[in-house]
């Protein structure tokens, strides 16, 4: 049960749930949270592949974990920038509804 394939199926499931959240929701906050969800789903896949290849990988014993740590840092930067963009949008239009942000729509 606790096998590589199970972990990859779990990762795929969480990724699709995140995709649903990004596509279906109109609240920017929830869309950003769904993005974090998708990043975490990919992290599970990376760490489980890294564990399965721990002794044979070219990048060393902890290659997958180090990659995931970098993804964590990117996610932190993305959250900071995304949330400050959200604050600017809120100040300007008093709304965090994605439908209000279609001004480039011809």
């Amino acid at each position: 049960m606790f096998s590589l394939a199970t972990l990859l199926y779990l990762s795929a499931l969480l990724f699709s749930i995140g995709t649903y959240g990004v596509l279906a929701r109109r609240n920017i906050l929830v869309v950003l949270m769904s993005l974090e969800l998708m990043l975490n789903a990919v992290n599970i896949a990376i760490v489980s592949f890294g564990r399965a290849h721990a002794l044979t990988a070219f990048s060393g014993e902890h290659g997958g974990q180090i990659f995931t740590l970098m993804v964590l840092a990117v996610a932190a930067a993305e959250a900071a920038i995304g949330l400050s963009l959200l604050l600017v949008i809120w100040r300007r239009w008093k709304s965090i509804d994605l439908r209000q942000l279609c001004r480039l729509n011809g």
């Binding site: 049960m1 606790f2 096998s3 590589l4 394939a5 199970t6 972990l7 990859l8 199926y9 779990l10 795929a12 499931l13 969480l14 699709s16 749930i17 995709t19 959240g21 279906a24 929701r25 109109r26 609240n27 906050l29 929830v30 949270m33 769904s34 974090e36 969800l37 975490n40 992290n43 599970i44 760490v47 489980s48 564990r51 399965a52 290849h53 721990a54 002794l55 044979t56 990048s59 014993e61 902890h62 974990q65 180090i66 995931t68 740590l69 970098m70 964590l72 840092a73 996610a75 932190a76 930067a77 959250a79 900071a80 920038i81 949330l83 400050s84 963009l85 604050l87 600017v88 965090i96």
Partner: protein, 192 residues
């Protein structure tokens, strides 16, 4: 025992991520996202990535989610301000795309010869016996600073750029209107 904990963490992660994308109030979404991140941290620790699991808890469930909750409380949406969510067509479209992605990924996983070959060695704990130090702070740090130093430094630059960008974007501009355009040397300068 590991199988039991893995099953529990997987179920908790799936259910709470479903709740994240379906709750109407973003506060509930954020709180369920914390539960989901903790479950993912448990999965990391079961995969012998103990240090990474703690980093997940510290950075994600600690720092990033506090940022989210802080922003939610800062903009303080009232019940009437909550965006009404999309209609049935939008949801059906999104669910269809998500289902398509899931079925494609499942097809790829179930037909991958590499996954099959790795899985034939048994479950993850039995697969490749790693040394006891695997995933510990010492072993992880040694490898990070020996083999991946450049990536580490580049990440710190990225974080710095993120900080500067966030401060610049979130800085409150002057609320008073700027003085009208001034005429200098016959040229009209226009503030934009």
């Amino acid at each position: 025992m590991e199988h039991l904990f893995f099953g529990l963490a997987a179920v908790v992660a799936t259910v709470s991520s479903l709740l994240v994308v379906t709750r109407r109030n973003p506060i509930y979404s954020a709180l369920f996202l914390i539960v989901m991140l903790a479950a993912v941290a448990v999965i990391f620790m079961l995969l012998d990535a103990v240090f990474l699991g703690f980093m997940q808890l510290l950075v994600y469930a600690g720092a990033i989610m506090v940022l989210y909750l802080f922003v939610i409380m800062l903009i303080n949406p009232r019940e009437g301000d909550l965006t009404d969510e999309g209609g049935a067509t939008e949801r059906a479209f999104a669910a269809g795309v998500a289902l398509l992605i899931f079925s494609l990924l499942s097809f790829a996983i179930s037909h991958s010869q590499q996954v099959e070959r790795l899985d034939s060695a048994g479950s993850i704990p039995a697969m490749a016996a790693v040394p006891d130090s695997h995933g510990s702070v010492a072993a992880f740090g040694l490898e990070l600073f020996h083999n991946h130093l450049l990536v580490f430094e580049l990440t710190s630059v990225l974080i710095l750029v993120g900080i500067i960008g966030a401060v610049h974007l979130a800085m409150r501009r002057r609320s008073t209107p700027r003085p009208p355009s001034t005429v200098e040397d016959g040229q009209v300068t226009v503030d934009v």
